[in-house]
C-alpha cells in the first residue's frame, strides 16, 4: 500500500511559525469570553430547554376523567419492555366499563432504559414518558416506582405535558 503524504511548505518545515499559529488559535479561544458565555449552560442555575413533547424521562400512569387509573392490565407494555423492568398484577376491575385493572404496577426506574417501547405499545395510552429527568433516590428500593408513585407523577406533570389523546375507557 502506498501512503501519500503531503509535502510540507517552507514555513511548515521551520515548525516554529506553525506552533505560533496554533498558539494564536488557543489564545484566541482563551480570551473569547462571549463564545464561552454562549456555549456553557451553568447547571443547575440554568437548565437546557428540552423538546418537551418528545423527551423520554420518567414514566407516569395516566388517569381518566373520573380519576381512575387508565391502565387495563393487558400486559402489552410488560411484554414489550426490553429491560423487563415493568411488573404488573391484574385483577377484575370494580368498575362496569372495564374488565381488568392493575392492582400492582411496578417499574424499576434504574433498570429502565427509557426507550419508550411501553408508551408505543399501550393501546389505551395509559403509560407515558414525561420530560422529568432529575431522579434522585437514596437506595435502589426507593427507585422502584409503584402504582401510587406513578400516578403521583401524573398528578405533578399533567399541566406540563397533557395527555396525548382522550382517555379510552369503554369499548364502544
Amino acid at each position: 500500500m502506498q501512503v501519500r503524504q503531503p509535502t510540507l511548505t517552507t514555513t511548515e518545515r521551520l515548525y516554529l511559525p506553525q506552533i505560533l499559529g496554533g498558539m494564536k488559535t488557543t489564545l484566541r479561544h482563551m480570551f473569547h469570553k462571549r463564545l464561552r458565555d454562549e456555549t456553557v449552560v451553568q447547571y443547575p442555575e440554568h437548565k437546557r430547554v428540552l423538546r418537551k413533547e418528545n423527551y423520554r424521562g420518567v414514566h407516569r400512569l395516566n388517569r381518566d376523567e373520573q380519576g381512575r387509573v387508565a391502565c387495563v392490565a393487558c400486559f402489552m407494555c410488560e411484554t414489550a419492555c426490553p429491560a423487563h423492568c415493568i411488573h404488573i398484577e391484574g385483577a377484575d376491575s370494580p368498575w362496569p366499563d372495564r374488565e381488568k385493572y392493575p392492582i400492582r404496577f411496578d417499574i424499576d426506574e434504574l433498570r429502565c432504559i427509557y426507550c419508550g417501547m411501553c408508551e408505543e405499545a399501550c393501546p389505551v395510552d395509559a403509560i407515558e414518558l414525561t420530560p422529568e429527568y432529575q431522579l434522585v433516590g437514596h437506595s435502589r428500593d426507593e427507585m422502584i416506582f409503584d402504582k401510587e408513585k406513578l400516578l403521583m407523577v401524573y398528578d405533578r406533570t399533567r399541566g406540563e405535558k397533557p395527555r396525548k389523546s382522550p382517555p379510552i375507557t369503554g369499548y364502544e
Binding site: 503524504q5 521551520l14 498558539m23 488557543t26 479561544h29 482563551m30 464561552r36 456555549t39
Partner: protein, 440 residues
Amino acid sequence: MNFFKAHPIFCVFCALILVGLPALFAVAWAWAAWHEAIQQAMADQLYFSVFLAVVVFGVIMGAVAYCILLERKISAWIQDRYGPNRVGPCGLLQPIADGLKFLLKEDIIPANVDKALFLLAPWMIFVVALIGFAIIPWGGEFRWPWMADDAEPLTAQVSSIDIGLLYLLAVSSLGVYGVVLGGWSSNNKYSFYGGMRAAAQMLSYEIPMGLCILVAILMSGQLRLEGIVAAQSAELLGVSALNWNVCYYPLAALILFITALAEANRMPFDLAESEQELVGGYHTEYSAMKLALFFLAEYAHMITASAFMVALFFGGYLIPGWTWLNEDTGVAAMLCRMAVTAAKIFGFIVLMMVVRWTLPRFRFDQLMRLGWKWLVPISMILVAAQTVIIYADWPRWPAALAANVLIFLAAGFFAAARDGKITGRQSSLRRRTGVSVQRA
C-alpha cells in the same frame, strides 16, 4: 450552630477580632521589647536568608497548590468552557478542597513493593524541586531603613553561593532519582517501563539544557545568578537594563524553554504522564498524599524552570528603562523587584500551560530523536559560536544575533533536506527496507 449559619459574616468578623487583636498586641509587644535585637538580626545576611527561606517556602507551597487551579481554569478557557467555579468565588477554594480530599483518602501501599523506596520516591522528587529555589534572585540588593548607608547591602536571595548554576544543574539531575525509584519500587512492570521512559527523557534533555545555561554563563562570565542578572542591567541600544540575554541568544532561550518542558514532563513531552492516563506509569500504585506530592512536584518543577529561565535570559527583576526599580536599594524597591520577578515567572507558567493545550504529544522515539539529533548539536554549535565571539572579540550583539539567525536557518535547511521530517522515520525507512513512500 444555628446562629453561626444565620449570621456567618458577623461570626467571621468576631473571630477575626478575637484572634487578630491579641496577635497584633503580641507582635507590637515583641517589637517594642526586642526591636533592637530583631533589627540587628535582620541586618545580617544569614538570619535574613533563613527568614526569606521560610517565606519563599510558604509562598511556593501556596503557589504550587494554586497552579492546579490555574491549570484547570486555563485549560477550560481554551476549551470554551469555565473551569471550577463552584467552590468559593471563581473556584478559588478548589485547591483547599483538593488538598482535603488528598489528605482524607485511603493510603494504599501494595503488597510486594520495596517499602523504603516506595515511601521515599515522592518526597525525593518534591524536595529536589523545592531546593532549586535557593539560588533564584528574587529582589536584588537592598538595605533596611535602620542600616547605615555604607553598610553591606543584603541580597534578597536565600543563598548567593559562588557556584549557583552548578548547584542548580546538580539538583535538577536528582529529580530523575525520584521518577526511577517510583517506577522501580511499584512492583509493576508497566510502572517500571513508564519510569524508565521518563528517566531517559529527563536525562537526554538535560544535555541541551546544560549547554544553553552554559551560553548564558559565557555571556556574563560567572556562575552566580545574581551576577548574571546584574550583567543584564547594562545598556543596549540606548535603553538601560535591556542587556537581556534573550536579545543576544533567542535560540538558546527557546531551547531552554523546550528542555524545561521536557524536564518537567509537560506537554508535548509528557509521555510518562499519558501512560498514566492510558495504562500505567511511575505513579500508578500511589494514592492520596503521595500521589498529590507527585503532581505538586511537577508544578514545582515548572515554577523552578520558569524562575531560572527568567533569571538567565529574561532579566530577572529588571524592567528596561526603569532606573529607579533597577538600582534603588530601598525596601520598597526590593518588594517591587520581587513582584516583577513573580510576574515574569507567572507569565512563563501561563505560557507552559497554553503550549500544553496547543501541541500534540511526541511519540517516544520522536522525543529521543528531537533531543539527541537536533537539540544537542544546535546547542553545541551555539556554545561554540559564543566562545568564538568572545575569543575573536567581535561586537557582541550583532555577532550573536547573526550567529542565531544563521544556526536557525541552517537547522531549517537540514530539516528541509530531510523532507521536513525532523522527528519522522520515513527517510531511514526508505533506505533500509526499500519501501518507497509516494510523495503527493
